[in-house]
Every structure is written in structure tokens, then in C-alpha cells.
């Protein structure tokens, strides 16, 4: 039988606010356990939540970024359940009236095709603390630093049909939130994680199969692997005459499998009701319009502009707009050198190669966008040739010299374009290579083209790479042919 996979994602994005969603405590990552939990985060008797306006603004920006409806009124609800790292015994969330209504996200697949994935809604909520099971003999440690960190939960429709589509969707969300600057998108620190709903059905069947929810998947790679495993498990189960049960499962990246956590029967009744400590959030049009007017250019818009206005290829435009940091770097280089294609080549070639080798994000590049832009400008105006440019880049990368001109000057890499000087070098090389000249002369005219490479190399070497290669080529051919 032919099976079709149906996937929906709930993506939890940690918003980059300075303080928590309902208290003034800091959200910084990595502090000593419980050093960033105030009375409100601890859920002490008598404390009350106060909504962080920055979290509201970020949620609305996201909504605008996915062209979603922004309802005028949204309401916080309490989701009631007991867990040691949930201090109040309830999580403040938005069940019935979320802050972001229906929207959509465009994803690009590997074959370059695009597909729209609908977003059902996105809502604000507070994160819980962390339970630490290691290091405590027979006990569990509780760290409440994370308790109250603002999360935006983005719930998709079941519109994805493969693990690749799910990963592409997650990447698109990552790209949007980092472009907007509303999250650092750092998956290793838990700034983005997702729950994956997976079901399978015979191809052509209209109704959905029974789904399993895989909790807390925290990398693009794991999303693909978890789905791949789960799809296979479900198909095998059904083909063996079994039935998929609605349940929550956990992905184990070590064993590359999902395991049952709890079935629907064991599921909590969360007893949602409106939080009486918080007023409904009322967004007036002017506020939303102000945020819309100040929205940065988003990945899709940027990619289109790179292609249409700058004349980059679809591939280059896609790579350079994939992250806000990459796009900003590229645009700064382009600004300085004045040539989009050269800038694109350098950012994707020499720079990306060096960054990958050292495992550095572009934000931490030792060569600044201005430095690279100045370097590319020297290539463009023929001050240096390509080979010398790579040498200059390496020098800048290692901090030898403040800018390209300084390095060019210090290393004497300025391109020699003076015909007289080049001719002098050529004459010397010809004089020093009688055997090669004889070979050249004896060769069939159509083989000579290949043989000229030796002489070019010798002249370039003599010029320490600074001679203009096109000129060297043309003059050599002229002089050698004159000897034949």
C-alpha cells in the first residue's frame, strides 16, 4: 500500500525579552540555579503576574511576519496541572483567545519548489522550570531560572507531508523569528523546540489517521529523524494488523527512536479557565500599525529583492537571505564594494569556507563586512588580482593589517599592469627557458595553447603574483608566436 504522512508542528520559541513574561526577573541563560527566580516566579503566596509589554510586541511582530490576523482582544488562561518545576500548579497560557490568529509560512524545498504551510494560531505562555535528575541521590533538583520565560507557541495546520517539509518549515520559522529579532533561535540552549504530530494514511484517503505527538524535539536534524522513525513505526504497526493509539511519545536521539510517554487515557484534564489576575490584552489598531510599519524586511522579501533588484541567482539569493546575520553581512559588503555579484561570490566562497573551517557564526567573523567590502573593491578596480586577493583575505583573517589597502601595500601585492614591466619579465622567462621554448616551437599550433601555461606560471612567480594574468597571457602568446 502507498502511505502518505501527515505532519503538524507546535513550535515553542523563547522570546528575547530581557525580563520574564510576568515578572521583572532576568531571562539570561546559564546563571546559577534559582538565582533568577523572584517571588513571582517562585509562586509565593500572594504574588501576582504583570504582563511584559515587550513579549506582546514580539508576538504581534511574529503575527505580522506571517501575514496573520491579529485579534483585537486576547486572553490569558490557566492550564492546571501538578509538576514540581511548575511553581504555581498552573501554567499561564492562552487557550481560547490567542494573540496571533491564522497565518501562513512559505517553505522552499530542496528542488526549489515552494509550498505554503498554514499556521493555525500562535499564543503566548510562560515556560516552566527545569527538573534535574542527575547529581541528586534519590531526589530531584528544581531550577526555576527558566520559570516564567516568555514563549510563543506557533501551532501549524497538518499541512506537511514529509520529514523534509517539516524541517523546512522549522527552518522557515527559525529564519522569521531571528530576522524579527524576537528570538535568538538558539536551539542548543532550548530557545526553540517543537512537538511533532505525526500520522499516516493510505494515499488518497481524505480523513486523517490517528496521530502520535512527539514531544520536545530540539534540532532540525532530530525533527527529520524522529519523523522518519515514527512514520516507519506507524506503517509497520498498521501493516501488521495493529492500530496506532493516540499518545504522547518521546524522541531518544541516542537510540534514534520514539518511546511512549502517556496515552490519551492517561492525559491530564488541564481545566483551562481565564486567569483572573490578568486583564484581557486589548491591542488598538494604531499600536499594531506602528509595529507593522517598523517591521524589518523578512526572508521572503529579501530573497525576492536579491534576485530581482540585485540580479543574483535564485540559489545565491536563497543562501544569502537564509539568516538575518548572513544577509546583513552580505548587504554591507555590497554597499562598500558596489558589486552585488562579486560580494555574493566572496561571502559564499572565501568567507563561508573560512567560517566553516573554524566553526564560527558569521556574527563572529574576524573579517568585518567593511574589511571584506574594501578588499572586493580592490579586486573590482583591478588593484589586485584574484590570487593576491585570497592572500589579502587570509592576512585580514589573521589580523595582519587593519584593512585591505594596508595589507596590499605591506605585502607589495598591487597588480602590475605596466606593459613594459610585464614584457621585461616575459623576456627574462623566455631567455631562461630555452628547452620549453624549443618544445613550444616544435609543437602543433593547436597544442600550443596548453603549453603556454608553463610560461604564465613562471611570469606570475617572477612577479610574486602581482602581474595582471590577462595581460601576461596576451603578451606571452604574442612573443612566443613571434619566435615560431
Amino acid at each position: 500500500m502507498q502511505w502518505e504522512t501527515v505532519i503538524g508542528l507546535e513550535v515553542h520559541v523563547q522570546l528575547a525579552t530581557k525580563s520574564k513574561i510576568f515578572s521583572g526577573a532576568s531571562t539570561a541563560f546559564g546563571a546559577d540555579p534559582n538565582s533568577q527566580a523572584c517571588a513571582v516566579d517562585l509562586g509565593l503566596p500572594g504574588v501576582l503576574p504583570v504582563l511584559n509589554e515587550a513579549a506582546v510586541a514580539m508576538a504581534v511582530q511574529f503575527g505580522l511576519g506571517i501575514h496573520a490576523e491579529i485579534p483585537e482582544v486576547s486572553v490569558f488562561d490557566r492550564k492546571n496541572y501538578f509538576y514540581p518545576d511548575l511553581p504555581k500548579g498552573y501554567q499561564t497560557s492562552q487557550m481560547y483567545h490567542p494573540i496571533v490568529g491564522p497565518g501562513e509560512v512559505e517553505i522552499t524545498l530542496e528542488d526549489g519548489e515552494t509550498k505554503r504551510i498554514r499556521v493555525h494560531h500562535a499564543h503566548l505562555e510562560e515556560d516552566a522550570g527545569k527538573s534535574l535528575h542527575e547529581d541528586f541521590q534519590g531526589m530531584t533538583g528544581i531550577d526555576l531560572n527558566r520559570a516564567g520565560t516568555p514563549l510563543l507557541e506557533i501551532v501549524s495546520e497538518p499541512d506537511m507531508r514529509s520529514a523534509k517539509e517539516a524541517a523546512a518549515y522549522l527552518k522557515a520559522i527559525h529564519s522569521i523569528v531571528t530576522y524579527l529579532g524576537i528570538s535568538d533561535g538558539n536551539m542548543a540552549e532550548g530557545s526553540m523546540r517543537c512537538d511533532v504530530n505525526v500520522s499516516v494514511r493510505p494515499r488518497g484517503q481524505a480523513s486523517f489517521g490517528t496521530r502520535a505527538e512527539i514531544k520536545n524535539v530540539n534540532s532540525f536534524r532530530f525533527v527529520e529523524r524522529a519523523i522518519a522513525f515514527e512514520v516507519e513505526r506507524q506503517i509497520e504497526l498498521i501493516e501488521d494488523g495493529g492500530e496506532v493509539v493516540q499518545e504522547t511519545r518521546l524522541f531518544d536521539p541516542e537510540r534514534d527512536e520514539t518511546r511512549s510517554m502517556r496515552t490519551k487515557e492517561q492525559a491530564n484534564d488541564y481545566r483551562y479557565f481565564p486567569c483572573p489576575d490578568l486583564l484581557p490584552v486589548v491591542l488598538d489598531r494604531a499600536y499594531v500599525d506602528h509595529l507593522r510599519d517598523n517591521l524589518p524586511e523578512l526572508p521572503d522579501e529579501k530573497r525576492a529583492r536579491f534576485q530581482n533588484a540585485l540580479g543574483l541567482s535564485a540559489y545565491d539569493a536563497g543562501v544569502l537571505s537564509a539568516s538575518r546575520a548572513m544577509a546583513e553581512y552580505f548587504e554591507a559588503v555590497k554597499e562598500v564594494c558596489g558589486d552585488a555579484k562579486l560580494a555574493a561570490n566572496w561571502v559564499q566562497g572565501e568567507l563561508s569556507g573560512a567560517l566553516n573551517r573554524e566553526g564560527l557564526p558569521i556574527q563572529n567573523s574576524p573579517v568585518s563586512a567593511t574589511q571584506l567590502g574594501e578588499l572586493v573593491a580592490r579586486v573590482k578596480d583591478d588593484t589586485i588580482n584574484g590570487k593576491a586577493a585570497k592572500e589579502v583575505f587570509q592576512a585580514l583573517w589573521h589580523g595582519e593589517g587593519a584593512n585591505a589597502d594596508e595589507v596590499i601595500e605591506a605585502k607589495g601585492l598591487k597588480q602590475v599592469t605596466d606593459t613594459g614591466a610585464i614584457e621585461a619579465m616575459i623576456d627574462q622567462v623566455i631567455a631562461d627557458s630555452p628547452a620549453q621554448v624549443a618544445q613550444y616551437r616544435d609543437a602543433e599550433p593547436d597544442k600550443r595553447g596548453k603549453m603556454i601555461g608553463y610560461f604564465v606560471g613562471q611570469v606570475m612567480k617572477a612577479s610574486r603574483g602581482t602581474a595582471n594574468p590577462q595581460q601576461v597571457n596576451a603578451l606571452l602568446k604574442e612573443k612566443l608566436d613571434a619566435l615560431c
Binding site: G46, V50, Y90, R271, Y272, P276
Partner: protein
């Protein structure tokens, strides 16, 4: 000194007739002498009180005294007080020392008042008799066989017995007004949002409101002025200026339009209470007010709606008492579930458990629409009843409670206890202010007249109550206990 009102004590402090230390010492001695049987305090903070009194005296000497500097009072044990046990009348919090002060506590301290301690109360403010306290029942100073009312029973009894001139309470369904009525004192529940709830241990968040219990409306006006106002830490507190409640007290009542809700004078109202209330209304007529009957047609839905909404909120608000971070934790738990079950089973009393169970049930899947949602609809209708009434009249009047204080142990059935709040509960659902003032006696036990106004009409209520107290002396009557000197 203990027979003086808060207003008189403030004047005595201002004139130098006595110092705050002298006054504080005298009242601490009375607490020491009388509170053993009365049981109105859970914690007496004598040492801190004397230190605060000394600071108040020093402030006065250096010319930095405000109108309430050096005035002693007490706080219901539901207000978080830094460094002092804050129990909410529960075994669950018997070991809880709050690390912070409630906004009301901060404001009272800033006004220079001196807290003598924390008063007894029904556990988590759930009750109408103060019999639900982990720390035992409180006696009514008028009759040791009678309850003082609840849940702010300790605050009301302490004031009536002359242990403090005033005390702070909270009112979720009548918990200031009913004990004030039972103890023959004046108690004000402000508009929801008038006083910050920050640092008040939550029972039902959409209904809880703090207010003063004292001898007179004038005393209450002083205290409300000190505690009212917007608080950035409480999103439900209202950003609205605080009027000068004292200045408004003397406005004449000629032309005041009084409404008597028909539903507040029906079956179940003790005839002696009814006649005391009618007599009080006669006093207002003699002061130039006009009286007419009006209707609050949804009144009989108030108790059912309240007992859906309040327990629902309580079931969630009390989830944090799980034995993990603070409060009671059972001995040697086997596992997490055992820790939860036994800590909560041991820490909470019967009435609290009952309300948690009710609230958990009504919020459950499949019941939410039938209970919680319906109760919220009823709540809107009840509120509308009052708004419609206040289009016609300035204030509403009626009994604060259908009977005078009943005997300790008399109400075994929870529903009969719930029905005690029939005249007070709708006011919390509507969010409007109400005040109970002494208006006579029934069988030797005090009767309270309840006066209601529209949202933020506290100045008017205090004015109306004050004018009544200028024309009557019920509020000056004192139980034998309060007449006793050391």
C-alpha cells in the same frame, strides 16, 4: 485609651496626650490579658510593634508625622508580612515566614501605623464563622458562645474587644461586612480594584478585596485613604485617583435617594434584624433622605454562581501548596504523588478541601460550560441589576446578614453556612463597594446595616455611614469585655 476610636487616638497622639509607645504597650497588655480566651490573634508581634512605635514617636518629635503616625492596628493573617509568619489560618502555612510585604502592609507602614500582629481567620478566607481556622475558633466579644463571623473574624473580634482600634480584613463574599455586623463594628469592602491585592494570599482572585474594620466610618475613611490606589504589581488594581475620604464625610444627606432591595427583606430574614434595619432607615428619612423599594431580580442566583466561581479560582490558586517549595510537607514521602497527596491532605482543612474539590469538578472537561461559563453569565446579570438600580437611587440599604451572630458549632451543614452570605455575596460578584455599620441589637447580639454604592462610590458610602453615626450611638456601644480595664 482602648475605648477611643482610631480618629480620637490619632488626635491624642498628635496633641501629645500620650505617645505611640504608651498606647502600644497598653494595647499589648490588653491582648495579653484578654486574647487567651478570645483567640483573635494568631501572632502578636510585640517587639516589632514597640520598635515601630518608637520610630513613630521619633518621627513625631522631628515633625515628620502624618495623620496616622503611631496608630496601632492589626492585620488579618492573609496579608504577607516580611519576617513574620503568614498562615492564612492554615496548617499548610503554619511554617511560612513571608519574605516580602503586601502592598497594603507597605502602605500602612509608610503611613506610620504600628502593627500589633496577625489576626485569626477562616482557613484561606473560606468561612463565615471563623470556625474553619487551624488555630481554633474565635469568640464573639459580645457573647463567648457566639461566633464573631468570618472569615475576618479575628480582626472584627479584636476591634470589638478593644484590643486594637482597627484591623485590616479581606472580603471575598462578605468576609469584612458580616463579621463587622456580628461584632458591632464598622467594616468596609471597597470596589474591586480600589486596593491592591499584591501580597494578599489569594482565595478567589476576581472577588478578593481588602478593607478596614474599625469602630466608625470616619476611622475607615482614614484607613481607606492610606491603603487605596493603583499598584503596578496588581494588574487588576485601577489607575484612578484616590479622593479625600475625610473631606466628604460631612456632606448633608438631604435628598439622598435610598433603595431597599425587595429581595433583601424576604424569607429567612430574622424579624428582629429586620426591624432594627427598618428603624435605621427611619433615621435616614429623618435626615432628609427619600426611600423607595427596588428589585435586584437575580439575587437568588448569587450564592450558586459564587459557589461555582470562587471554588474554581480557589482550586487553581491553592495548587501551589504542594509541599515542594514552602509550606507543609508530609514526612518521608514515598514518591512524588505521595508527597502531593499527603502534604495537601494533612495541610488543608475540611472546608478548603471541599471547595478545592468543587472547583476542580466545575472546571473539568465536560462541565466547564454548564458551570463556570454559566456562572459568569449570571455574574454579568447580577452586576447589571446593581447598575440598573444605581440609575434610580444613590445607595442601597439592607441587612448585612439574615441573623445576628449564631452560636459556635451551630451550623454543621455547609450549605446553611453558605446561606449566611446571602446579602453580601452578590456585592463581590458585581465588584461594587459595601459597608456594614452597627444598627442595633437582636437578642443581645449586634445587627449590621449594609449600605451599598456603585463602583468607586466609597466616599459616598463613608459619608452616608458617618452621618448615620452622627445621629446614632450604636457604634459606640461596647461589649462588657471592652469596658473591662486591666
Amino acid at each position: 485609651m482602648h475605648d477611643k476610636t482610631l480618629t480620637e487616638l490619632a488626635a491624642g497622639l498628635a496633641s501629645g496626650e500620650f505617645s505611640s509607645r504608651e498606647l502600644t504597650q497598653a494595647l499589648l497588655a490588653r491582648i495579653d490579658r484578654f486574647d487567651g480566651d478570645l483567640n483573635s490573634f494568631i501572632t502578636v508581634t510585640a517587639e516589632q510593634a514597640l520598635a515601630t512605635a518608637d520610630r513613630a514617636d521619633a518621627d513625631r518629635a522631628s515633625g515628620n508625622a502624618g495623620p496616622l503616625t503611631g496608630v496601632p492596628l492589626a492585620l488579618k493573617d492573609i496579608f504577607c508580612t516580611a519576617g513574620v509568619k503568614t498562615s492564612a489560618g492554615s496548617r499548610m502555612l503554619d511554617n511560612f515566614i513571608s519574605p516580602y510585604d503586601a502592598t497594603v502592609v507597605e502602605k500602612l507602614a509608610a503611613a506610620g501605623t504600628v502593627s500589633l500582629g496577625k489576626t485569626n481567620m477562616d482557613e484561606f478566607a473560606m468561612g463565615s464563622s471563623n470556625e474553619n481556622s487551624f488555630y481554633g475558633p474565635v469568640q464573639n466579644p459580645w457573647d463567648s458562645d457566639a461566633v464573631p463571623g468570618g472569615s475576618s473574624g479575628g480582626s472584627a473580634a479584636a476591634v470589638a474587644a478593644g484590643l486594637v482600634p482597627a484591623a485590616m480584613g479581606t472580603d471575598t463574599g462578605g468576609s469584612i461586612r458580616q463579621p463587622a455586623a456580628f461584632c458591632g463594628i464598622t467594616g468596609l469592602k471597597p470596589t474591586y480594584g480600589r486596593v491592591s491585592r499584591y501580597g494578599i494570599i489569594a482565595y478567589a482572585s476576581s472577588l478578593d478585596q481588602a478593607g478596614p474594620l474599625a469602630r466608625t466610618a470616619e476611622d475607615c475613611a482614614h484607613l481607606l485613604g492610606a491603603i487605596a490606589g493603583h499598584d503596578l504589581r496588581d494588574s487588576t488594581s485601577v489607575a484612578r485617583g484616590v479622593p479625600d475620604y475625610i473631606q466628604e464625610l460631612d456632606a448633608p444627606l438631604a435628598g439622598l435617594r435610598i433603595g431597599l432591595p425587595r429581595e433583601y427583606f424576604g424569607d429567612g430574614l430574622d424579624p428582629t434584624v429586620a426591624s432594627a434595619v427598618r428603624e435605621a432607615i427611619g433615621v435616614f428619612e429623618s435626615l432628609g433622605a427619600t426611600v423607595r423599594e427596588i428589585s435586584l431580580p437575580h439575587t437568588h442566583y448569587a450564592i450558586p454562581a459564587y459557589y461555582v466561581i470562587a471554588p474554581a479560582e480557589a482550586s487553581s490558586n491553592l495548587a501551589r501548596y504542594d509541599g515542594v517549595r514552602f509550606g507543609h510537607r508530609c514526612d518521608a514521602p514515598e514518591d512524588l504523588t505521595d508527597l502531593y497527596k499527603r502534604s495537601r491532605a494533612e495541610g488543608f482543612g475540611e472546608e478548603v478541601k471541599r471547595r478545592i474539590l468543587m472547583g476542580t469538578h466545575t472546571l473539568s472537561e465536560g462541565f466547564f460550560d454548564a458551570y463556570y461559563k454559566k456562572a459568569q453569565q449570571v455574574r454579568r446579570l447580577i452586576r447589571q441589576d446593581f447598575l440598573d438600580a444605581f440609575d434610580e437611587v444613590d445607595v442601597l440599604m439592607g441587612p448585612a446578614s439574615p441573623t445576628p451572630a449564631f452560636d459556635l458549632g451551630a451550623k454543621k451543614d455547609p450549605v446553611s453556612m453558605y446561606l449566611q452570605d446571602i446579602y453580601t455575596i452578590a456585592i463581590n460578584l458585581a465588584g461594587i463597594p459595601g459597608i456594614s455599620v452597627p444598627a442595633g441589637f437582636a437578642g443581645g447580639r449586634p445587627v449590621g446595616l449594609q449600605i451599598l454604592g456603585t463602583h468607586f462610590a466609597e466616599a459616598r458610602l463613608l459619608n452616608v455611614a458617618h452621618q448615620f453615626q452622627q445621629a446614632t450611638d450604636w457604634h459606640l456601644r461596647r461589649p462588657a469585655l471592652a469596658e473591662e480595664t486591666l
